[in-house]
């Protein structure tokens, strides 16, 4: 990969085709011979070609940035969105927001429509982003940034995350320090990199304290209220139930609270609970939730800034940015 991004003309010369043919491939037209298409796509990806800004390309200003999210129904999405919107607005651009609902995300049609209206680039917050979809975006030369939750991006894909390992470690260390010996952890879905990192942090903290890891105390589930409720109900049925629970999200922690309430266990006198995210409602829970703060707004800001740099043709010093998590101690954790 050269240190400077190549122009359309250079790609065309190397592929031994007309510039218009490269353009057709970039814009998803179908009237290009498959072998030629493959050659061109390979060159586009190898050289890390990026479309110039739409404004310069077509002489008209579109100045649109796309934010694509799995769902628009949690305070989690909103914090990210507000960070992205702040930067995009300051830059004088406009933010197009969409969610993929229950349809398959990022179909070729979706990418086509995004390019047709001259989107400058996209921020993707998708748990189901596949390797093939990412490759498709790259072949079309559209700058994009992935925010955590979006599968395991390969190292060359620009991505923004939080220090999930450190967060899982800090939550567990806090509980160990309070004298807990039976500490359970509820993750998100097992394949999710953020969940894996947090649970690795949990295990590392136990190991540092010389405490054994009990596989029964590790649960994988979704991030919603109901998931926390069910996972906790199952934990309470163990012969030797936990005295502390690290949840995968604040929303999940509300389900942990509910299960403990139904099971007649008081928080934190009988069971301590730690959340993850630090959404606004965490401090209004009863008792106020001790949680690992994820800087979601700041992650949105970082994602948007990174995308703007890519759009401007800048090289990134690092394709991966992780913002620090921080343990916020409130009243849901107490000494054992």
């Amino acid at each position: 990969m050269s240190t400077r991004r190549p122009t359309l003309t250079e790609i065309a010369r190397e592929a031994n085709v007309a510039v218009s043919t490269v353009s057709k491939v970039l814009n998803g037209h179908t009237d290009v011979a498959p072998a030629t298409r493959r050659t061109i796509e390979k060159l586009i990806v190898e050289h890390g070609y990026r479309r110039p800004r739409a404004a310069r390309r077509t002489g008209r200003r579109t100045d649109l940035i796309d934010l694509v999210m799995d769902r628009l129904d949690s305070a989690w999405s909103l914090s990210l969105l507000s960070g992205v919107e702040e930067v995009i607005e300051e830059a004088g651009l406009s933010l197009v927001v969409s969610s993929v609902h229950n349809r398959q995300s990022l179909t070729r049609r979706w990418v086509d429509s995004l390019l047709a209206r001259g989107s400058e680039g996209a921020i993707l917050v998708l748990s189901g982003l596949t390797e093939a979809q990412r490759a498709d975006l790259e072949r079309r030369g559209l700058p994009f940034v992935v925010v955590d939750g979006a599968g395991q991006p390969p190292p060359e894909v620009p991505s923004i995350g939080a220090t999930n390992f450190a967060g899982g470690y800090a939550a567990t260390e806090h509980l160990i320090g309070l004298g807990h010996r039976r500490i359970a952890v509820i993750g998100g879905p097992e394949p999710l990199p953020s969940t894996r990192a947090r649970i690795a942090g949990y295990r590392a903290a136990l190991e540092t304290a010389g405490m054994p890891a009990d596989r029964q105390l590790v649960r994988y589930t979704g991030f919603q209220h109901e998931d926390g409720l069910r996972a906790t109900a199952a934990l309470l049925e163990l012969a030797d139930p936990p005295t502390a629970i690290v949840a995968g999200s604040d929303q999940q922690a509300t389900g942990v609270y509910e299960a403990l309430r139904r099971g007649g266990r008081s928080i934190p006198a009988q069971v301590s609970v730690v959340g993850f995210d630090d959404l606004a409602f965490a401090r209004w829970m009863a008792p106020p939730l001790t949680t690992v703060r994820q800087p979601l707004h700041e992650m949105g800001v970082a994602a948007a800034r990174t995308l703007l740099r890519l759009i401007n043709g800048e090289r990134l010093e690092s394709t991966r940015i992780e913002l620090a998590t921080e343990l916020v101690v409130r009243e849901s954790t107490a000494a054992r």
Copy 2:
């Protein structure tokens, strides 16, 4: 006002100017004599002229709809947003989301940039939308719909709201039925039409029950946690404090809970609390919050559908749509 919307040519003919002059006025160009501009603007407003869809006008597809909100930091905004996005996405259009932050909203520059990129129309969720700003949008022929919170729209402005009067009435009637006689209500800001309607509902319910209204029990403040906290602390200092509180939002109700907790009052044994909105966290509060559900997602859906009808040049049977609120009884209210 004629039953059919006039064309640009008809406006030009009536004003005795070239079509390009009308076009200049619509697009905010400054090289039109003030008297001519005023004549044209008057005709545009009088005839209810609306721009044709951008796609047809310029031969290129933009298919953008704008959603402008005061702030992007509450679950309230998110529910509205998700409803709007669902409809816009189904219609094959793209949704541009922006918030006005702390700047003055809807400046001429803002309207210009919206028109420059060919926005088809706008949904406004702004508490500070002035008469002058609305008139400006009308003069530019941009279809728009106002969602509650956005000041008191005059009857001819298409707007979407909830049955706030009925909501305030139902909450108060519920508490009266439980035997409460000292019922306080905390509104939003006094000038807000939704707040006025809810408090009118509260007063009507008291009157129906033949109960006196005590002005000390009516408070106007913001919708945030801290506002509920402060208002409740003041209510508890009354010589004859309330045994029940109707809050202006669920978020405010979290502050009511906190003030009662600090004041050593248990919910609902000593004080009953009713919220407003029914956001997701209301059912996870301790105790789960009795609240008046506002159909926010559905209000977003209705706003987007109404805007699409305006964009398509349809006439509305009614410019004002109010969706029903509904009392959701949980565990924060009990018999006195």
